[in-house]
């Protein structure tokens, strides 16, 4: 008998939601691998899983058909208790032997760190994989978790994503028997709902995949994906059209179909008068069609639908999809025309009726706050001479930004909020910058989404997001764990991304205060506590750390060092992070960082607590210096401090750090020659003051003590 064989599992379901199949397959792999390893039937990494709408498949290769026997040593009483003075077994030894069902003479003495013990060796016979799998598999299926599972017989039965209708479980050519919510495992799968045979007998995974393919089910997502792409390209090539590429949609249709086939459909070119955004949203979000463009990138009056058939036999499918799209487009045109009867600004009073959040008031209130904040941001930047003035545009855009929420178009196509407002503003003669700002103000919706294109858009986007964060923190709706109903993390990432990419200097804490004041104005019943403002700052800085690490590729300690020296202005902070990264390879830098850590430790010890670089230090008195090394360090610090200051003022952080690294010989010399904790109290205090001033002086660009030497990093 051979020792290893393949185990094949297929869970046959009614249609699983497309977005959940890949994750379920991933989870199934992990659960099975853990179970198989725990039961000594396979190593980690031995299971392959994948899925299609009506099935999750797992293939475990090289399953050990029978567990190895294992020998287990069970300890009994200590030798001293088990045997009396003359070496005869005591009552304790006898009862241990009885309990283990082993004759006394088969017991042995083993040496342990705690002394000699009576012990018994027991052989535990390995079990057969088929028996173990019959237990493991139903357990694994119960363990799979879904966002919203269901029961289908009664409330007390198995919950799963959709009803399970068959289960294939074959080990080494033989069915592994178990029952799952009334379904008995078997060797019989099922083909495509309409094109394939309903019962397909198989003996292993190769046969399953092959026979499914012949019954119009491409079990592997990669194969479906490839078929979709190939067919789309074939359709487009003939007509010199291009695909409006959409990776998310491709992924979705890969999991919506067991046998995906691409077909081309047309629509009336007169609909091309409607904005492209609206046409694409209708096609993509509502119908799951791909848009198509001509070779210049303009939308063409065609679409590609992915259907779950081998072909469109009589053209009925195409005609049907065209009819549905026609109705959808005609709705969209109706909404567009209806909405144009009113100017965007005329919708403003109706926002009083739309609740933003029960405690935070209506969208009308929110718009008031956004206006205050957007204007403040724009003024801050233009007064500082950093940027051209855009306060009026920002204010107008903020005023109109939420008006589209009550238009027919957005009520029907909610995902177009903002975009519709921008399109209407443009069509109704608002300045181009205002229209663009409205259009973009929800951006960025993720780390890969672009930021608003103009400054007014950046101001409004930040105002919108910061108002959300400050408001929610003020009323205690703070994200925790996986719960973040207002998507505040995304909002915070968005703010940081805009500031960094647009290089907008901003005191984040002042912006938070402005937002908090605006909230106090519109919602006097809410008490915005100072702690809430501090929490918001930390929340934003946490996202900033994340972006600097994950997106900009800076090391943990580089980011921490720069932010510990101040993170209120994130654009300034990233310049300092960059300087730290650039200089950390210089030979004096890491040892200097180590010296700073030492300084901090000394100060902390002497203060009996945390020493901060911004702590008020007592003045250094040169007349109290006893050693030459003290004086040298003092003078070096003064000389270097002055240079570093000038460089820092001009934002030449790398150069400043290079200069500061020049302190190293003096610092090293100090620690070699000087005992900080001198006998004389005054001298000791003076030395501590010197170190404190050093820490304070040279920690404004980066807190060096956060730097971790490379090998530990």
């Amino acid at each position: 008998m051979k020792g290893r064989a393949e185990f094949l599992l297929e869970i046959g379901c009614e249609e699983i939601p497309a977005g959940m199949i890949a994750k379920a397959a991933g989870d199934l792999k992990q659960i099975l691998e853990t179970q198989l390893a725990t039961h000594r039937l396979a190593q980690k990494g031995s299971v392959e899983t994948f899925g299609a709408p009506r099935r999750l498949i797992a293939i475990a290769r090289e399953i050990i058909l029978k567990q190895d026997d294992i020998t287990q040593e069970i300890l009994g009483p200590p030798k001293s208790v088990a045997y009396d003075a003359v070496g005869q077994p005591t009552r304790a030894a006898q009862s241990f032997a009885e309990k283990q069902a082993t004759p006394l003479e088969k017991l042995s003495i083993v040496a342990t760190p705690k002394g000699d013990y009576l012990a018994v060796k027991k052989v535990i016979a390995g079990r057969f994989a088929k028996d173990l799998l019959a237990e493991i598999v139903p357990q694994a299926i119960r363990e799979l978790s879904f966002p919203r599972s269901m029961y289908w017989t009664s409330a007390s039965d198995l919950r799963f994503i959709r009803p399970i209708r068959w289960a294939v479980a074959i080990l080494d050519g033989k069915v592994v028997p178990f029952t799952l919510a009334g379904v008995a495992s078997s060797d019989t799968s099922s083909g495509h709902r309409f094109l394939g045979k309903p019962k397909i007998k198989v003996k292993d995974s190769a046969e399953l995949i092959d026979r499914l393919r012949r019954n119009f089910v491409l079990a592997q997502p990669s194969e479906r994906h490839k078929k979709i792409e190939t067919e789309i390209q074939a359709i487009l090539a003939k007509r010199s059209l291009r695909l409006h590429a959409d990776a998310e949609l491709t992924e979705l249709v890969t999991y919506l179909n067991e046998y995906p086939t691409a077909i081309l459909g047309d629509f009336d070119p007169s609909y091309l008068n409607l904005p492209e955004e609206i046409l694409l949203t209708v096609m993509r979000d509502h119908q799951k069609y791909f848009g198509v463009t001509d070779k210049d990138g303009a939308l063409a009056p065609h679409f590609i639908a992915i259907i779950n058939l081998d072909k469109d036999r009589k053209g009925l499918v195409r005609a049907g999809h065209e009819k549905v799209l026609r109705a959808r487009f005609s709705d969209a045109r109706f909404f567009w025309e209806m909405d144009q009867k009113k100017k965007l600004g005329e919708h403003l009073p109706r926002l009083k009726q739309v609740t933003y959040e029960t405690r935070l008031g209506s969208y009308y209130d929110k718009v008031e706050r956004m206006r205050t904040l957007a204007r403040w941001l724009a003024n801050t930047w233009s007064q500082g001479g950093v940027l051209e003035s855009h306060a009026d545009d920002a204010d107008r855009a903020a005023e109109l930004a939420k008006c589209d929420l009550v238009t027919d178009m957005v009520r029907e196509f909610t995902e177009l909020q903002g975009i519709v407002g921008g399109l209407y503003a443009r069509a109704q003669g608002e300045p181009e910058d205002v229209a663009t700002a409205i259009y973009d103000h929800y951006r960025p919706v993720g780390l890969d989404d672009p930021i608003p294109r103009n400054l007014a858009g950046c101001s409004v986007a930040i105002a919108d997001k910061l108002d959300a964060i400050v408001g929610c923190f003020a009323v205690g709706a703070i994200p925790s764990g996986s719960s973040d109903p207002f998507a505040l993390r995304r909002a915070a990432l968005g703010i940081v991304k805009i500031l960094l990419e647009r290089k907008l200097p901003l005191s984040i804490s002042s912006a938070i205060s402005t937002a908090a004041n605006a909230l106090r104005q519109t919602a006097p019943h809410i008490e915005v506590k100072p702690e809430a403002e501090a929490q918001v700052l930390e929340f934003l800085l946490e996202r900033a750390r994340y972006i600097l690490r994950e997106r900009y590729g800076y090391a943990y300690d580089e980011v921490n060092a720069a932010l510990a020296a101040g993170g209120d202005d994130i654009v300034d902070a990233i310049a300092r992070v960059a300087a730290i990264k650039a200089i950390r390879k210089a030979k004096d830098f890491v040892p200097l960082a180590a010296a700073f850590k030492r300084i901090r430790n000394i100060l902390e010890k002497s203060a009996g607590g945390a020493a901060k670089s911004n702590e008020k230090s007592s003045t250094v008195k040169p007349e109290l210096f006893r050693e030459e090394a003290e004086r040298e360090l003092y003078e070096a610090a003064q000389r270097i401090g002055e240079k570093a200051h000038t460089l820092k003022r001009n934002a030449k952080y790398k150069e400043a750090l290079e200069v500061i690294a020049g302190l190293r010989p003096a610092v090293d010399n100090f620690f070699n020659k000087v005992l900080v904790m001198a006998q004389e109290e005054e001298v000791k205090k003076n030395r501590l003051a010197l170190l404190q001033s050093l820490l304070k002086e040279f920690s404004t660009i980066a807190d060096f003590s956060e730097i971790v030497p490379e090998e530990q990093n």
Partner: protein, 325 residues
């Protein structure tokens, strides 16, 4: 791929039908009712109180509660005041027609049965793109939700397919499956018409001839003529009447009195509330915050009615088994 090749030659004549095709509206109803009565459903009639969906018919809402098996099919004209378009929109209707099927408990081959019903009305499943796409259903006023799909026929939603999980706030044992066919859409699809008003209702009459006046006049009433103050009064009256009944029921001690109590009348009044709420909503007379509060009030009443009904059923069972002994 051969599929791509054959696609290029795909005939396109079906896009513009020349002569009348597909079942008439009433034949579609006959066929589906016949199909499901052959599968053991009883044929019920539309409920005679205004409802927004077939689910609100007591034959669904109350029958899915409790342990007794039940199978039923009926058409339910469903009123959605906010969806009215004065008969001017080719797809949107104030009152559309649902064909509702309840199967309790759920047969294991329920999807196949459903697909057979499509074949019964002339849909060849190999010639159409029929798919089940995730769409979970929830009715806040009924305290009900379920898991399931919308069934798409060539991209058009034609049926809501739901495994009920809860109604009236109660977990269901056993689970019922609800199939809600959108008759107006299926008919216009089968007949190949773009405008629902062009659907042939019978051989001689069109949907327009039968239903246009309803669409026009009720849109006018719901959007313009309904007096918000009067409608609100009617809502309040219906609500307090349900409250009175629910309270009276709760005060009853004797099982016999409980069994005879008009819980069903209380349910009708809940439906009234729900419909009047929809009229107020269409009229724009409900603010967003108030909306949630009103929905919650109606839900609480329906849940109490459901609890009363369940209790009555169990008292009934107890009385029957008592009589049998």
């Amino acid at each position: 791929m051969t599929a791509a090749k054959s696609l290029a030659k795909a005939p396109r004549k079906a896009a513009t039908p020349a002569k009348p095709q597909g079942l008439t509206f009433q034949d579609l109803i006959f066929k589906l009712e016949k199909f499901w009565t052959d599968k053991g459903c009883i044929l019920q009639q539309p409920y005679d109180v205004e409802v927004g969906a077939g689910t609100m018919h007591p034959e669904t809402f109350l029958r899915v509660l409790g342990p007794e098996p039940y199978k039923v099919v009926y058409v339910q004209p469903s009123r959605r005041p906010a969806d009215g378009r004065y008969g001017e929109n080719p797809n949107r209707l104030f009152k559309h027609h649902q064909l509702q099927v309840i199967l309790k408990p759920t047969p294991t081959d329920v999807q196949d049965l459903y697909l057979q019903s499509l074949e019964a009305v002339g849909i060849n499943l190999k010639e159409h793109d029929v798919r089940f796409e995730e769409d979970n259903w929830e009715s806040p006023t009924l305290g009900a939700w379920g898991i399931g799909w919308q069934v798409l026929l060539d991209g058009q939603e034609i049926t809501q397919f739901t495994y009920f999980q809860q109604t009236g706030g109660f977990d269901l044992q056993p689970v019922s499956v609800e199939l809600t066919y959108g008759l107006d859409r299926i008919a216009s699809y089968l007949q190949g018409v773009d405008n629902v008003f062009d659907v042939r209702w019978s051989k001689n009459l069109t949907y327009r001839q039968v239903r246009f006046a309803d669409e026009q006049q009720f849109s006018g009433y719901n959007f313009e003529w309904a007096d918000p103050v009067a409608t609100r009064k009617m809502f309040d009256l219906s609500e307090s009447e349900v409250q009175r009944l629910v309270k009276a029921y709760a005060a009853l001690k004797s099982p016999d009195e409980k069994r005879r109590f008009p819980i069903l009348a209380a349910y009708d009044l809940c439906l009234k509330c729900s419909h009047l709420f929809n009229v107020l909503d269409a009229r724009g007379a409900i603010s967003t915050t108030e909306r949630a509060a009103l929905i919650n009030r109606v839900r609480q009443l329906t849940c109490k009615v459901a609890a009363g009904w369940l209790e009555q059923r169990s008292l009934e069972v107890a009385a029957e088994s008592g009589a049998a002994q």
